[in-house]
Symmetry: C2
Subunit: 375 residues, 2 copies
Amino acid sequence: MSFRFELLATDGGARKGILHTPRGPVHTPAFMPVGTAGTVKAMLPESVAETGAQIILGNTYHLMLRPGAERIARLGGLHAFMNWRAPILTDSGGYQVMSLAGLREITEEGVRFRSHIDGSEHFLSPERAMEIQRLLGSDIRMVLDECPPFSAGEAEIEASLALSMRWAKRSKEAFAGDSNAACFGIVQGGTYLHLREKSVHELSAIGFDGYALGGLAVGEGQEKMFEVVQTTAPLLPADRPRYLMGVGKPDDIVGAARLGVDLFDCVLPTRSGRNGQAFTWDGPLNLRNARHADDEIPLDAGCSCRACRSYSRAYLHHAVKSGEIIAAMLLTWHNLAFYQDLMRQLRVAIGEGTGEGFARSFLARYRSEHLEVGG
Amino acid sequence: MSFRFELLATDGGARKGILHTPRGPVHTPAFMPVGTAGTVKAMLPESVAETGAQIILGNTYHLMLRPGAERIARLGGLHAFMNWRAPILTDSGGYQVMSLAGLREITEEGVRFRSHIDGSEHFLSPERAMEIQRLLGSDIRMVLDECPPFSAGEAEIEASLALSMRWAKRSKEAFAGDSNAACFGIVQGGTYLHLREKSVHELSAIGFDGYALGGLAVGEGQEKMFEVVQTTAPLLPADRPRYLMGVGKPDDIVGAARLGVDLFDCVLPTRSGRNGQAFTWDGPLNLRNARHADDEIPLDAGCSCRACRSYSRAYLHHAVKSGEIIAAMLLTWHNLAFYQDLMRQLRVAIGEGTGEGFARSFLARYRSEHLEVGG
């Protein structure tokens, strides 16, 4: 096993560590930019690395449909294909497939679905999900799980969990033997704490290189999400990394890191960047707002990203209003740099045992000026 | 006068030189990437410079409407605004305004028009065109001229030319006194060689820092365009740079440089890059074509741009098909690098007196495989 999670410090529930991988280290807590279809949108890979990102996420669903996992394998794997040489985590495709309401059918064997691109029929089983991730050559691979809707009741969640646990076992068996990659299980159970606990025990019995919390940030609200994380995280093996899937806003990340989460991913910094929104220590800014038209200052005077080093808010406002591609490029760059700066500061604070004070002062400042974008 | 055109070598009609400006040298023949609205689309300015570009073009029409010339002046000028520290040439806005059929009215005084963005009314005179360019702080400023449609007859072209020459005189008078910038006149006269000659004599009598050929590449065809250039260029003062506006395709540039043109601009490399097209020494490629889906080779093995160094045609095909922004970024980068490489090789060939052989072998190879995009 070439993967090793080194715990460097704890601070209350928070952890600082290093996930050692054959493609280099990942300092945790870490944020993984999302590279959906073989690109972190509007960024060159070297720019993503320049922000400090040490790992990115790729989406199995998108890549299996286009350009296809077998094709990527023939072309040398996802790292070479997209020119990203550091670690890549791939999801199982399950989350996106489950979202295709009306276009998919779930059975014990797996899930049959139609492509949103051309309507072609595809089948994803735990075995095929692991095979695709092997073909992509990702460093961290996720088990296939079912993702019930937030609206599901307890009985439905419990049945879904049982299926996910059977799929987790099949995924692990299908993964077996690839010593250059890690396999993560996914804890499900909705907001039912006893189901989360049951899920943790079943996954731990199978044994994974890391454990993710799935089925959160789907509408339950931050308080409920934190409750699940707070209850579940301490049950997980301390020597394995913990990954909160699809999270989140900066304040979600700060809060969940306090509760012991090591890995995060979210489309928010990249998607917001394409929508004219920028994250700052004083809260998010909407660059489309006319009040920025004559504003000579950068997005964030303390930030060293390309956008902040060389452009005024007035320029970014102009570029956003004009629909120029450079607006997406610069705002995405800044947002990813902001997220990485946040993670760096979190790691320092946890290492120094001042995580709680850091979180408190971060939130006080970040939430003080939520004038432009909903929090 | 801080501008000086240094002629280093001639080779038949072709010239190799350096345009010295307060913001640095421009080696000619030079190609100017188009930065329409304060950005060379899909490129960071440092990337534009990395391709070898020493000067870019900005569009007065677009900038005066959004974000506005006075605003850019308040923000420190166009160079600071868009983070491009090398020379900028701005057009007068005339060409774009004249294209607003039905939305503009031309009088002796100037042209009244409505913005394509919000319908607001604006007025552009020779004096205002020069004032806007002064507010932008561009290094090379173009006189306001009328651009008659290609379909215009001789009488119409002659009347239009007379107006353009009166406007040229007013433009020069309005420009007077700005010693950090250069002012270029624009030769008009359609495809009527005697009108072109007349235009050259009138402009030379006024006296400009450089001379442009306008009203070409508007549908007359390459042969006719070359005829006009061949007849007109030798009439221009040899100690001033010559600029063929809006040109063009690689073979247009090679041919016109042979006839003594020093400066070019065109949206083709940037616009094509956003449309999935790449320029290569073997002719243009359409990356959307399915035959590239499994192609492991780069766009051009001899090119050192970011796209060619790190990506396969298969990746670029995937990115184009998926509508990813990185496709526009990488293909634009490559196309601008290709244009700059072409200019560099042209300059070397002219310097060595082998321009004719270079042109012949370039065209033979470039035109041999026009399989994918119309020439």
